[in-house]
Assembly symmetry: C2
Homo-oligomer: 168 residues x 2
DNA sequence: CGACAAACTTAGCGAGTGCTAAAAAATTTT
DNA sequence: AAAATTTTTTAGCACTCGCTAAGTTTGTCG
Protein backbone atom coordinates (compact mmCIF):
# COMPACT_ATOMS: atom_id res chain seq x y z
CA UNK A 1 0.00 0.00 0.00
CA UNK A 2 2.45 2.68 1.08
CA UNK A 3 0.36 5.62 -0.09
CA UNK A 4 -3.40 5.92 -0.03
CA UNK A 5 -4.25 8.62 -2.50
CA UNK A 6 -1.43 9.56 -4.78
CA UNK A 7 -1.95 12.19 -7.40
CA UNK A 8 0.14 14.94 -5.98
CA UNK A 9 3.25 12.93 -6.74
CA UNK A 10 3.73 12.34 -10.44
CA UNK A 11 6.98 10.39 -10.19
CA UNK A 12 9.91 11.36 -7.94
CA UNK A 13 8.87 9.84 -4.59
CA UNK A 14 11.16 10.96 -1.73
CA UNK A 15 12.12 7.30 -1.38
CA UNK A 16 12.09 7.17 2.43
CA UNK A 17 8.68 5.71 1.51
CA UNK A 18 6.46 7.45 4.04
CA UNK A 19 5.89 6.54 7.65
CA UNK A 20 9.32 6.15 9.25
CA UNK A 21 8.83 9.15 11.50
CA UNK A 22 6.38 11.07 9.29
CA UNK A 23 6.61 13.83 11.88
CA UNK A 24 2.83 14.27 11.75
CA UNK A 25 3.58 17.95 11.89
CA UNK A 26 5.63 18.05 8.76
CA UNK A 27 3.00 20.40 7.50
CA UNK A 28 0.43 22.42 9.40
CA UNK A 29 -3.25 21.98 8.63
CA UNK A 30 -4.94 24.91 6.88
CA UNK A 31 -5.77 27.67 9.38
CA UNK A 32 -9.53 27.10 9.34
CA UNK A 33 -9.23 23.38 10.03
CA UNK A 34 -6.64 24.09 12.67
CA UNK A 35 -9.02 26.56 14.29
CA UNK A 36 -11.79 23.97 14.26
CA UNK A 37 -9.57 21.62 16.23
CA UNK A 38 -9.09 24.10 19.02
CA UNK A 39 -12.74 25.09 18.89
CA UNK A 40 -13.68 21.47 19.50
CA UNK A 41 -11.46 21.38 22.56
CA UNK A 42 -12.93 24.61 23.93
CA UNK A 43 -16.37 23.23 23.35
CA UNK A 44 -15.53 20.01 25.16
CA UNK A 45 -14.25 21.99 28.11
CA UNK A 46 -17.54 23.78 28.47
CA UNK A 47 -19.41 20.56 29.17
CA UNK A 48 -16.63 18.63 30.83
CA UNK A 49 -17.22 19.71 34.40
CA UNK A 50 -20.96 19.46 34.03
CA UNK A 51 -20.66 15.92 32.79
CA UNK A 52 -18.41 14.96 35.68
CA UNK A 53 -20.75 16.41 38.27
CA UNK A 54 -23.79 14.75 36.76
CA UNK A 55 -21.94 11.47 36.39
CA UNK A 56 -20.78 11.63 39.99
CA UNK A 57 -24.22 12.47 41.34
CA UNK A 58 -25.61 9.54 39.39
CA UNK A 59 -22.95 7.24 40.78
CA UNK A 60 -23.63 8.36 44.33
CA UNK A 61 -27.35 7.87 43.89
CA UNK A 62 -26.76 4.43 42.55
CA UNK A 63 -24.16 3.27 45.01
CA UNK A 64 -25.18 4.87 48.26
CA UNK A 65 -28.80 5.59 47.45
CA UNK A 66 -28.32 9.27 48.09
CA UNK A 67 -26.29 12.15 46.69
CA UNK A 68 -25.35 14.68 49.30
CA UNK A 69 -23.48 17.88 48.53
CA UNK A 70 -20.82 17.05 51.12
CA UNK A 71 -20.00 13.79 49.42
CA UNK A 72 -19.87 15.45 46.03
CA UNK A 73 -17.48 18.04 47.47
CA UNK A 74 -15.28 15.38 49.07
CA UNK A 75 -15.08 13.30 45.91
CA UNK A 76 -14.56 16.26 43.63
CA UNK A 77 -11.95 17.63 45.97
CA UNK A 78 -13.50 21.09 46.10
CA UNK A 79 -15.21 23.20 48.74
CA UNK A 80 -18.89 22.89 49.57
CA UNK A 81 -19.42 26.43 48.39
CA UNK A 82 -18.14 25.47 44.97
CA UNK A 83 -20.50 22.53 44.87
CA UNK A 84 -23.44 24.65 45.97
CA UNK A 85 -22.94 27.09 43.14
CA UNK A 86 -22.48 24.31 40.62
CA UNK A 87 -25.60 22.54 41.81
CA UNK A 88 -27.61 25.70 41.30
CA UNK A 89 -26.28 25.89 37.79
CA UNK A 90 -27.03 22.23 37.08
CA UNK A 91 -30.53 22.84 38.34
CA UNK A 92 -30.97 25.82 36.02
CA UNK A 93 -29.65 23.74 33.16
CA UNK A 94 -32.23 21.10 33.93
CA UNK A 95 -29.97 18.25 34.98
CA UNK A 96 -30.53 18.31 38.71
CA UNK A 97 -33.72 18.69 40.70
CA UNK A 98 -33.33 19.59 44.35
CA UNK A 99 -34.90 21.39 47.28
CA UNK A 100 -32.96 23.80 49.48
CA UNK A 101 -31.00 21.99 52.20
CA UNK A 102 -31.96 18.61 50.80
CA UNK A 103 -29.94 16.09 48.88
CA UNK A 104 -29.66 15.95 45.12
CA UNK A 105 -31.59 14.20 42.40
CA UNK A 106 -31.21 13.94 38.65
CA UNK A 107 -33.89 14.90 36.18
CA UNK A 108 -34.73 12.63 33.28
CA UNK A 109 -32.25 14.62 31.22
CA UNK A 110 -29.67 14.36 33.98
CA UNK A 111 -30.08 10.62 34.17
CA UNK A 112 -29.58 10.38 30.44
CA UNK A 113 -26.36 12.37 30.66
CA UNK A 114 -25.15 10.36 33.65
CA UNK A 115 -25.75 7.06 31.89
CA UNK A 116 -23.97 8.16 28.77
CA UNK A 117 -21.03 9.67 30.62
CA UNK A 118 -20.65 6.63 32.76
CA UNK A 119 -20.66 4.36 29.74
CA UNK A 120 -18.13 6.45 27.88
CA UNK A 121 -15.95 6.68 30.97
CA UNK A 122 -16.06 2.91 31.41
CA UNK A 123 -15.10 2.23 27.82
CA UNK A 124 -12.11 4.54 27.99
CA UNK A 125 -11.02 3.01 31.28
CA UNK A 126 -11.31 -0.54 30.01
CA UNK A 127 -9.48 0.44 26.88
CA UNK A 128 -6.56 1.92 28.78
CA UNK A 129 -6.30 -1.18 30.93
CA UNK A 130 -6.41 -3.36 27.83
CA UNK A 131 -3.60 -1.25 26.39
CA UNK A 132 -1.56 -2.23 29.42
CA UNK A 133 -1.85 0.80 31.67
CA UNK A 134 -1.94 0.07 35.40
CA UNK A 135 -5.22 0.67 37.16
CA UNK A 136 -4.38 3.82 39.11
CA UNK A 137 -2.88 5.56 36.10
CA UNK A 138 -5.69 4.38 33.85
CA UNK A 139 -8.27 5.88 36.19
CA UNK A 140 -6.54 9.24 36.21
CA UNK A 141 -6.03 9.37 32.46
CA UNK A 142 -9.56 8.17 31.77
CA UNK A 143 -11.01 10.98 33.82
CA UNK A 144 -9.44 13.52 31.51
CA UNK A 145 -9.48 11.68 28.21
CA UNK A 146 -13.13 10.66 28.23
CA UNK A 147 -14.34 14.15 27.37
CA UNK A 148 -12.17 14.48 24.30
CA UNK A 149 -12.95 11.24 22.55
CA UNK A 150 -15.25 11.18 19.53
CA UNK A 151 -17.82 8.45 19.05
CA UNK A 152 -15.73 7.00 16.26
CA UNK A 153 -12.70 6.70 18.47
CA UNK A 154 -14.81 5.37 21.31
CA UNK A 155 -16.16 2.67 19.07
CA UNK A 156 -12.64 1.62 18.11
CA UNK A 157 -11.49 1.67 21.70
CA UNK A 158 -14.34 -0.58 22.71
CA UNK A 159 -13.56 -3.00 19.92
CA UNK A 160 -9.90 -3.08 20.90
CA UNK A 161 -10.70 -3.72 24.54
CA UNK A 162 -13.08 -6.52 23.69
CA UNK A 163 -10.73 -8.22 21.26
CA UNK A 164 -7.95 -7.99 23.79
CA UNK A 165 -10.17 -9.52 26.45
CA UNK A 166 -10.94 -12.72 24.63
CA UNK A 167 -8.36 -14.24 22.31
CA UNK A 168 -7.27 -12.12 19.33
CA UNK B 1 -0.26 -14.38 31.53
CA UNK B 2 -3.62 -13.22 32.88
CA UNK B 3 -2.30 -11.49 35.95
CA UNK B 4 0.92 -9.56 36.23
CA UNK B 5 1.64 -9.23 39.91
CA UNK B 6 -0.44 -11.41 42.12
CA UNK B 7 0.09 -11.36 45.83
CA UNK B 8 -3.09 -9.65 46.92
CA UNK B 9 -4.99 -12.83 46.15
CA UNK B 10 -3.98 -15.70 48.39
CA UNK B 11 -6.42 -18.32 47.12
CA UNK B 12 -10.20 -17.81 46.75
CA UNK B 13 -10.42 -16.04 43.37
CA UNK B 14 -13.97 -14.80 42.72
CA UNK B 15 -14.25 -17.40 39.97
CA UNK B 16 -16.09 -15.28 37.40
CA UNK B 17 -12.42 -14.85 36.68
CA UNK B 18 -12.44 -11.09 36.32
CA UNK B 19 -13.11 -9.10 33.16
CA UNK B 20 -16.44 -10.20 31.62
CA UNK B 21 -17.99 -6.73 31.87
CA UNK B 22 -16.46 -5.79 35.23
CA UNK B 23 -18.56 -2.62 35.00
CA UNK B 24 -15.52 -0.59 35.97
CA UNK B 25 -17.85 1.38 38.16
CA UNK B 26 -19.18 -1.49 40.16
CA UNK B 27 -17.64 0.22 43.10
CA UNK B 28 -16.53 3.80 43.54
CA UNK B 29 -12.91 4.53 44.43
CA UNK B 30 -12.32 5.82 47.96
CA UNK B 31 -13.12 9.56 48.18
CA UNK B 32 -9.51 10.72 48.47
CA UNK B 33 -8.38 8.79 45.41
CA UNK B 34 -11.45 9.94 43.55
CA UNK B 35 -10.60 13.52 44.46
CA UNK B 36 -7.07 13.04 43.22
CA UNK B 37 -8.40 12.00 39.83
CA UNK B 38 -10.35 15.22 39.42
CA UNK B 39 -7.46 17.23 40.79
CA UNK B 40 -5.25 15.80 38.07
CA UNK B 41 -7.73 16.88 35.43
CA UNK B 42 -7.96 20.39 36.88
CA UNK B 43 -4.21 20.59 36.95
CA UNK B 44 -3.97 19.50 33.32
CA UNK B 45 -6.46 22.16 32.34
CA UNK B 46 -4.31 24.84 33.86
CA UNK B 47 -1.43 24.18 31.51
CA UNK B 48 -3.41 22.99 28.53
CA UNK B 49 -3.94 26.32 26.81
CA UNK B 50 -0.42 27.43 27.56
CA UNK B 51 0.96 24.29 25.98
CA UNK B 52 -1.15 24.72 22.90
CA UNK B 53 -0.09 28.33 22.42
CA UNK B 54 3.58 27.54 22.90
CA UNK B 55 3.36 24.53 20.63
CA UNK B 56 1.62 26.58 17.96
CA UNK B 57 4.13 29.41 18.15
CA UNK B 58 6.91 26.87 17.82
CA UNK B 59 5.24 25.31 14.82
CA UNK B 60 4.78 28.67 13.14
CA UNK B 61 8.39 29.61 13.76
CA UNK B 62 9.51 26.34 12.30
CA UNK B 63 7.23 26.23 9.30
CA UNK B 64 6.93 29.83 8.21
CA UNK B 65 10.01 31.19 9.94
CA UNK B 66 7.95 33.70 11.86
CA UNK B 67 5.20 33.67 14.46
CA UNK B 68 2.85 36.60 14.14
CA UNK B 69 0.00 37.29 16.51
CA UNK B 70 -2.47 37.43 13.63
CA UNK B 71 -1.58 33.94 12.52
CA UNK B 72 -1.81 32.63 16.03
CA UNK B 73 -5.25 34.20 16.33
CA UNK B 74 -6.40 32.73 13.03
CA UNK B 75 -5.17 29.24 13.84
CA UNK B 76 -6.46 29.31 17.40
CA UNK B 77 -9.79 30.62 16.15
CA UNK B 78 -9.74 33.44 18.64
CA UNK B 79 -9.65 37.24 18.50
CA UNK B 80 -6.40 39.13 18.31
CA UNK B 81 -7.13 40.76 21.62
CA UNK B 82 -7.30 37.35 23.26
CA UNK B 83 -3.96 36.45 21.75
CA UNK B 84 -2.37 39.71 22.86
CA UNK B 85 -3.33 39.10 26.47
CA UNK B 86 -2.19 35.50 26.34
CA UNK B 87 1.13 36.49 24.84
CA UNK B 88 1.73 38.90 27.68
CA UNK B 89 1.03 36.09 30.09
CA UNK B 90 3.33 33.68 28.27
CA UNK B 91 5.99 36.33 28.40
CA UNK B 92 5.56 36.77 32.13
CA UNK B 93 5.72 33.02 32.56
CA UNK B 94 9.01 32.98 30.69
CA UNK B 95 7.98 31.01 27.62
CA UNK B 96 7.83 33.80 25.08
CA UNK B 97 10.18 36.69 24.47
CA UNK B 98 8.85 39.53 22.39
CA UNK B 99 9.05 43.26 21.76
CA UNK B 100 5.94 45.43 21.47
CA UNK B 101 4.48 45.36 17.97
CA UNK B 102 6.96 42.75 16.85
CA UNK B 103 6.47 39.08 16.17
CA UNK B 104 6.91 36.32 18.72
CA UNK B 105 9.83 34.20 19.82
CA UNK B 106 10.24 31.36 22.28
CA UNK B 107 12.66 31.38 25.16
CA UNK B 108 14.84 28.38 25.87
CA UNK B 109 12.16 27.20 28.25
CA UNK B 110 9.49 27.83 25.65
CA UNK B 111 11.38 25.83 23.07
CA UNK B 112 11.64 22.95 25.50
CA UNK B 113 7.91 23.01 26.11
CA UNK B 114 7.14 23.31 22.41
CA UNK B 115 9.34 20.35 21.55
CA UNK B 116 7.85 18.17 24.22
CA UNK B 117 4.26 19.15 23.41
CA UNK B 118 4.81 18.58 19.75
CA UNK B 119 6.26 15.15 20.36
CA UNK B 120 3.47 14.13 22.68
CA UNK B 121 0.89 15.46 20.26
CA UNK B 122 2.46 13.52 17.40
CA UNK B 123 2.47 10.27 19.34
CA UNK B 124 -1.19 10.59 20.27
CA UNK B 125 -2.10 11.45 16.70
CA UNK B 126 -0.18 8.54 15.23
CA UNK B 127 -1.67 6.26 17.82
CA UNK B 128 -5.23 7.26 16.96
CA UNK B 129 -4.56 6.74 13.28
CA UNK B 130 -3.05 3.35 14.04
CA UNK B 131 -6.18 2.50 16.01
CA UNK B 132 -8.13 3.12 12.81
CA UNK B 133 -9.48 6.62 13.33
CA UNK B 134 -9.75 8.76 10.21
CA UNK B 135 -7.35 11.65 9.91
CA UNK B 136 -9.72 14.56 10.53
CA UNK B 137 -11.26 12.95 13.59
CA UNK B 138 -7.89 11.85 14.88
CA UNK B 139 -6.59 15.40 14.68
CA UNK B 140 -9.54 16.76 16.64
CA UNK B 141 -9.38 14.07 19.33
CA UNK B 142 -5.61 14.33 19.62
CA UNK B 143 -5.80 18.04 20.29
CA UNK B 144 -7.80 17.39 23.44
CA UNK B 145 -6.50 14.01 24.51
CA UNK B 146 -2.81 14.91 24.43
CA UNK B 147 -3.03 16.93 27.63
CA UNK B 148 -4.57 14.14 29.66
CA UNK B 149 -2.22 11.32 28.85
CA UNK B 150 0.40 10.17 31.35
CA UNK B 151 3.89 9.20 30.28
CA UNK B 152 3.09 5.58 30.91
CA UNK B 153 0.10 5.68 28.61
CA UNK B 154 2.05 7.65 26.05
CA UNK B 155 4.75 5.02 26.05
CA UNK B 156 2.19 2.30 25.41
CA UNK B 157 0.51 4.32 22.68
CA UNK B 158 3.82 4.77 20.93
CA UNK B 159 4.57 1.09 21.14
CA UNK B 160 1.16 0.23 19.74
CA UNK B 161 1.51 2.66 16.84
CA UNK B 162 4.95 1.32 15.97
CA UNK B 163 3.92 -2.31 16.13
CA UNK B 164 0.92 -1.56 13.98
CA UNK B 165 3.10 0.22 11.44
CA UNK B 166 5.38 -2.67 10.71
CA UNK B 167 4.01 -6.17 10.87
CA UNK B 168 2.71 -7.34 14.24
C1' DC C 1 -36.00 20.42 74.89
C1' DG C 2 -31.81 22.73 74.17
C1' DA C 3 -27.10 22.69 72.66
C1' DC C 4 -23.63 21.44 69.42
C1' DA C 5 -22.13 19.78 65.24
C1' DA C 6 -22.69 19.01 60.50
C1' DA C 7 -24.48 20.37 56.16
C1' DC C 8 -25.96 23.86 53.11
C1' DT C 9 -26.28 28.63 51.33
C1' DT C 10 -24.80 33.26 50.28
C1' DA C 11 -21.58 37.06 49.58
C1' DG C 12 -17.51 38.56 47.82
C1' DC C 13 -12.61 37.98 46.04
C1' DG C 14 -9.26 36.48 42.35
C1' DA C 15 -7.68 34.37 38.25
C1' DG C 16 -8.50 32.80 33.67
C1' DT C 17 -10.43 33.14 28.97
C1' DG C 18 -13.58 34.61 25.63
C1' DC C 19 -15.53 39.03 23.36
C1' DT C 20 -16.04 44.10 21.12
C1' DA C 21 -14.60 48.70 20.48
C1' DA C 22 -11.23 52.06 20.16
C1' DA C 23 -6.52 53.77 19.97
C1' DA C 24 -1.67 53.31 18.54
C1' DA C 25 2.01 51.50 15.76
C1' DA C 26 3.69 49.37 11.65
C1' DT C 27 3.39 48.21 6.91
C1' DT C 28 1.92 48.66 2.25
C1' DT C 29 0.09 51.27 -1.55
C1' DT C 30 -0.39 55.12 -4.21
C1' DA D 1 5.72 61.40 1.69
C1' DA D 2 0.83 60.80 2.45
C1' DA D 3 -2.86 57.94 2.69
C1' DA D 4 -4.87 53.61 3.39
C1' DT D 5 -4.61 49.11 5.36
C1' DT D 6 -3.14 45.86 8.53
C1' DT D 7 -1.47 44.59 12.87
C1' DT D 8 -1.03 45.14 17.68
C1' DT D 9 -2.37 46.88 22.08
C1' DT D 10 -5.48 48.47 25.68
C1' DA D 11 -9.80 49.00 28.18
C1' DG D 12 -13.83 47.13 29.74
C1' DC D 13 -17.58 43.52 29.88
C1' DA D 14 -19.27 38.66 30.72
C1' DC D 15 -18.92 34.13 32.41
C1' DT D 16 -16.73 30.18 34.81
C1' DC D 17 -14.65 28.09 38.69
C1' DG D 18 -11.66 27.98 42.49
C1' DC D 19 -11.50 29.97 47.43
C1' DT D 20 -12.76 31.91 52.49
C1' DA D 21 -15.85 33.76 55.72
C1' DA D 22 -20.20 34.24 57.66
C1' DG D 23 -24.86 33.06 58.14
C1' DT D 24 -29.03 29.39 58.06
C1' DT D 25 -30.95 25.20 58.37
C1' DT D 26 -30.95 20.53 59.72
C1' DG D 27 -29.84 16.67 62.49
C1' DT D 28 -28.09 14.49 66.69
C1' DC D 29 -27.38 13.70 71.45
C1' DG D 30 -27.26 14.47 76.36
MN1 LIG E 1 -15.76 11.34 34.44
MN1 LIG F 1 -9.75 18.49 29.01
MN1 LIG G 1 -1.16 20.28 20.59
MN1 LIG H 1 -3.97 20.49 22.55
Amino acid sequence: MASAKMGSMSRSEPLRSRNAEQKATDVLPPPEQHARQYAAVRSAHETELIEDYVELIGDLLEHSGEARATDVAARMGVSQATVARMVRRLNELGYVSNEPYRSLFLTEEGRRMAAWSRERHAIVLQFLRALGVDDATARIDAEGVEHHVSEKTLELMQRFANERDRGT
